[in-house]
Point group: C2
């Protein structure tokens, strides 16, 4: 078989596999947003069957020959070559592990995740420990095997699933920079905040229907196309579905609309990325989003950089007042800025503000790396957690419920995921900064609720690239440099100290 026809055959196979993955994505959305509880068992069986089919397709022995025949992509154009590279990456991850290890880990994760729900409620780390140890042991096995196949460290081999090409050596440097910056900076922000007026609370109730109407209007402003997507409700908000039919979900809290609204805008950022991926490469690996930090950069760019900008908040405040039929000082742009720029040392990552959030992530990154690399025992996690909280954020959890038991990631088997949140936040700051340099009218457009200039730039410089370049190359092409903590720090200073 010649290289080109081998490549074409690979394209056909990946297209088919990814169409089944699409079906899985729609069924996952349905399970969260539509399915009655009684459908859970049969849905789990449907999904398990489809996942098994994808797995069997992915490990088909024919791939080895096809990749060998395709060689180094001679005769292919640039996108095809990148596609071949991404296919190989997918294939290495799919075939790296023996089937019994995959199954054992999948079972361990299911058991641990289920136990975690109760253990968190009961503040029972000791009770969870044996199950979590099992997950960790099997994850370390996975990491060792993948490290060997990928020629990377064990932690980086796990990271690579979420952040292709990500390297802890680079993350170390960036996080060290942030970790030395954040404590003093946070104190300075809190001191300044203490001298400013306190935010006036927005008093509810805020009917869900009015919230939905406002949220949909803002989604349209960002560029969300309701002919290619929906907004529904689910217990945990997410961006699901497929690029041509994006399914967003949220929750409506009738006592507080402010947080949920930003949540919708966050998910809309994810959605815009998916929608903007290169149409001609649908269902091919090169047509997918670049990785988790790139994805998170798009949600945080919309939520944190654009929608919480003073310009957009000055547009939002009167809009929200009208949506709920309110008026008064609480609904002023100044008060909205005080609400949306409030900083607080807190225990819970998902409730953290933009300033303290990175510290939560740095803590988790340090701990999961030590656990994966065998430099720390799982039994020592609660103590190390609390010590890290004191050092990085300046508060100590009174118990493990609000400490090391708060996140589902580790019990759920997601090791190597945490750093992507903060890499995403920093990438968002760097992209927004570059976009504003390229198109200086972006802030004034945002003050009119107009995202079009910003989105046009992101379409061209991020979304449409898919996975044709590495995360690093993408950033260099778009902003002129690799990830640079300086831009993020400058953003924080500008918003929280100098404004």
């Amino acid at each position: 078989m010649n290289p080109t026809s081998a490549y074409k055959s690979l394209e056909t196979r990946y297209r088919r596999m990814n169409l089944v993955r699409d079906a899985i994505a729609v069924l996952d959305w349905d399970g969260a947003a539509m399915m009655p509880d009684g459908g859970a068992q049969t849905r789990a069986e449907q999904l398990a069957t489809l996942k098994l089919i994808v797995h069997e397709q992915a490990v088909d022995p024919a791939f080895a020959d096809l990749f060998a025949a395709a060689g180094d992509g001679k005769g292919l154009d640039g996108w095809q070559e990148a596609n071949l590279r991404e296919m190989r990456r997918d294939w290495v991850h799919a075939t790296a592990l023996p089937a019994d290890l995959v199954e054992a880990r999948s079972r361990a994760v299911s058991a641990c995740e289920m136990r975690w729900r109760q253990a968190r409620k009961d503040n029972d780390f000791a009770g969870l420990l044996p199950l979590m140890q099992k997950v960790l042991d099997l994850t370390r096995e996975v990491a060792a095997i993948k490290a060997e196949k990928l020629g990377r460290t064990t932690y980086d081999a796990l990271l690579d699933e979420y952040e292709p090409g990500g390297a802890s050596a680079e993350i170390d440097a960036i996080f060290a920079d942030l970790a030395s910056f954040l404590p003093d900076f946070t104190q300075a922000v809190l001191d300044r905040q203490a001298r400013a007026p306190v935010p006036v609370p927005l008093d509810g109730p805020f009917p869900a229907a009015a919230q939905k109407k406002l949220a949909e209007e803002l989604m349209r402003a960002v560029g969300f196309d309701f002919d290619h997507g929906r907004l529904d409700t689910s217990h945990h908000p997410f961006c699901g579905g497929v690029p041509d039919d994006v399914r967003l979900t949220t929750r409506w809290d009738e006592k507080d609309f402010a947080k949920g609204l930003m949540g919708v805008l966050h998910e809309t950022g994810h959605a815009m990325y998916e929608r903007g991926l290169p149409q001609e490469w649908r269902h091919q690996p090169v047509g997918f989003a670049r990785g988790m930090s790139a994805h998170e950069s798009q949600s945080l760019l919309v939520e944190m950089q654009a929608a919480r900008s003073p310009e957009f908040l000055s547009f939002l405040a009167p809009k929200a007042a009208a949506a709920f039929g309110r008026s008064g000082v609480a609904w002023s742009a100044d008060n909205f800025r005080r609400i949306y720029h409030r900083v607080k040392r807190g225990l819970i990552r998902v409730d953290a503000d933009e300033v303290t959030y990175p510290a939560h992530v740095i803590l988790r990154y340090r701990l999961e790396r030590a656990l994966i690399e065998g430099r720390m025992q799982l039994a020592d996690l609660p103590g190390a957690w609390n010590e890290g909280m004191r050092e990085l954020i300046g508060v100590v959890p009174p118990d493990d419920r609000d400490g090391c038991l708060q996140d589902i990631h580790w019990p759920g088997g997601s090791w190597g995921y945490f750093p992507t949140y903060t890499l995403g936040a920093m990438t968002a700051a760097q992209l927004f900064d570059a976009a504003k340099r390229a198109i200086p009218s972006i802030p004034s457009a945002l003050s009119r609720g107009d995202f079009a200039p910003l989105m046009g730039w992101l379409r061209e410089n991020v979304h449409s690239l898919g996975s044709s370049v590495s995360t690093r190359e993408l950033l260099v092409k778009a902003t002129g440099r690799a990830l640079d903590a300086g831009v993020f720090k400058a953003h924080l200073k500008a918003r929280y100290l100098d404004s």
Copy 2:
């Protein structure tokens, strides 16, 4: 391989195939009830991929050996034996046809169905003729091949896809009986109706939300479990999803709630059948509904026999009045009976009442058989249609739009489907009759909106049997005799002449 392990291996394969079919069913529902228009193209690709996977599984050459090894089911229990028989049936249909014929027909059907939408609007039979001829020719090829494999006539081979074991020789006798009965009977009903008060119209508007609330309340009364199903809206109402998660759809016409409400109850009858199928045989062929006439019998039993019974209508009238905040003579039980028992000679099958509906079906059955058996030319269809309408219903369509172009079935490739509607209606009458003999309190329970006694009987005598027996055996077991037009005629006489 011994027979038992061959059988077990077949079970595993059918389970997997049917779980993919389940996923298809949920995606089909989503496409009709949830999906934004822009998602259609990618959804079509997802579905084509899943269907191809099912097809490849179904025609796996390994089946021939497994069926050979399983033999006649020695060592299996009764249900397993029936399951093996149903698997073989599925397999024969799946493998009977050469792939190029399946594909050619699928393409011809797509083209014809699309053209039909316009041809109907344009009253353009001549324009549709070449495409429909192609569908007919290929369907006749299919029929000839399947007739050979199944050892049946060509028409019966097509019928068998919808009505396993159905035989036109039996249908001929039953339809001949009805065809000789209906014209005079219809005239007698119309004469009587002309002497009675005309129905007082129910004046709208009827807000969709109030209609939905009422419909859901009645669905619950029938026994629909919202923990295992939903009610949503779609352009064409249907019962979709899977037995443990049934997805019903309807449309809300704010000018007229009466028709839509019965539509919901009709679909609820389908849903109750699916939900009541034997839980321990989920995803196995023997656990499926018996066939289209059995399925239609369950929807028509709920809609026509139970919900349009005088007893239930006396419960419904005040309920509906309260739901819409109305009162007066239009909302009396008597007026509801006049509305729901109205008979009219009409041109359109889907708008037909219970009395004239069978005549529409008999016409189509005669014509499609003549076309499949080559006793009639497609070009002669409009004339034969109009002649049949005059003979059977006493009205002649002014054009083909409201004549032979009205149904999607033939352009859409469903040949041999039509008789199941009327077989279903007759089966419904016979089952309802038997249920009332077994549990005489059923009518009085319905007058209180209580379907439990009826549903209990149907669960035991119909739903829980799945496909463990033939349609004929099912009816004999449940009612003491094979399908008997006399019961249906007696039902019509009692409701339309003697009440």
